[in-house]
């Protein structure tokens, strides 16, 4: 199963883990990206995310396909939250199950790296002093040339 979603609500890790759990797969790896309270010494109040939703879903499904080309995995769930994401809350959760652990561990690492390089989602950091900044993933610079 490939489950991708972009939601405006809190993402529950337990829900994604339940989604990918199966009697056939003994390993589940999850990656959770949460809002930090600081960047370069500035206090971050919250993040605001926006997405090119249909294209982002498409790119997330492409990541599922790439994962399945590289590893024998069971179920994949990738959910990104948009809108305001307060400090400590999750903006992204990826959960992948596999029969043995190596596949789920390596493929989750690959999936988050690839998501940061290819999925059209944007993050604005809002600082305590009222200023803000649109962020840029370093992975994007490297992948831009290859479209």
């Amino acid at each position: 199963m490939d489950h991708v979603d972009i939601i405006e609500d809190v993402i529950k890790v337990e829900k994604l883990v339940d989604l990918v759990t199966s009697p056939s797969y003994g390993a589940i790896t999850t990656f959770i990206g949460t809002t930090r309270d600081n960047f370069d010494g500035k206090n971050v109040t919250r993040l605001e995310y926006e997405a090119y939703i249909p294209m982002a879903r498409k790119k997330m499904l492409e990541i599922c396909g790439m994962v399945r080309e590289k590893w024998k995995v069971g179920n994949i769930a990738i959910v990104h939250r948009i809108g305001v994401v307060p400090v400590k809350e999750a903006s992204i959760i990826i959960a992948i199950s596999s029969a043995h652990r190596r596949e789920s561990l390596e493929s989750v690492h690959f999936a988050i790296d690839t998501l940061k390089a290819t999925v059209p989602i944007w993050k604005k950091e809002i600082y305590e002093d009222g200023s803000n900044s649109w962020k840029e993933n370093t992975e994007w610079k490297h992948s831009k040339i290859n479209g």
Partner: protein, 91 residues
């Protein structure tokens, strides 16, 4: 004989480009055959505010990235969806 045809294309703006342009989307009439570089240049002429991030924009056409560096000629038709893509920062 080559007809000089045009297409009405939906253009979407995201993130910083949306803030700079001041709108989420518009419709622009483009030649049916056009280079990606020319699309971008025309957008920068139309929206001067975009110039501050002009070096960092790419485009997508119907939800696929277009390689600006290749400066390829693409075919547009009415109903196509272009998007202005500033550096992404999801995750």
């Amino acid at each position: 004989m080559e007809l000089n045809t045009f297409a009405n294309v939906r253009v979407l703006f995201f993130a910083k480009s949306r803030e700079l342009v001041g709108e989420k989307e518009t419709v622009i009439n483009y030649p049916s055959r056009i280079s990606t570089r020319r699309i971008l240049n025309e957008l920068l002429e139309r929206y001067n505010s975009l110039s501050v991030i002009s070096e960092n924009l790419i485009l997508s056409l119907n939800e696929e990235y277009l390689d600006i560096n290749d400066d390829l000629i693409i075919n547009l038709k009415t109903g196509d969806e272009l998007a202005v893509i500033p550096p992404i920062s999801g995750g």
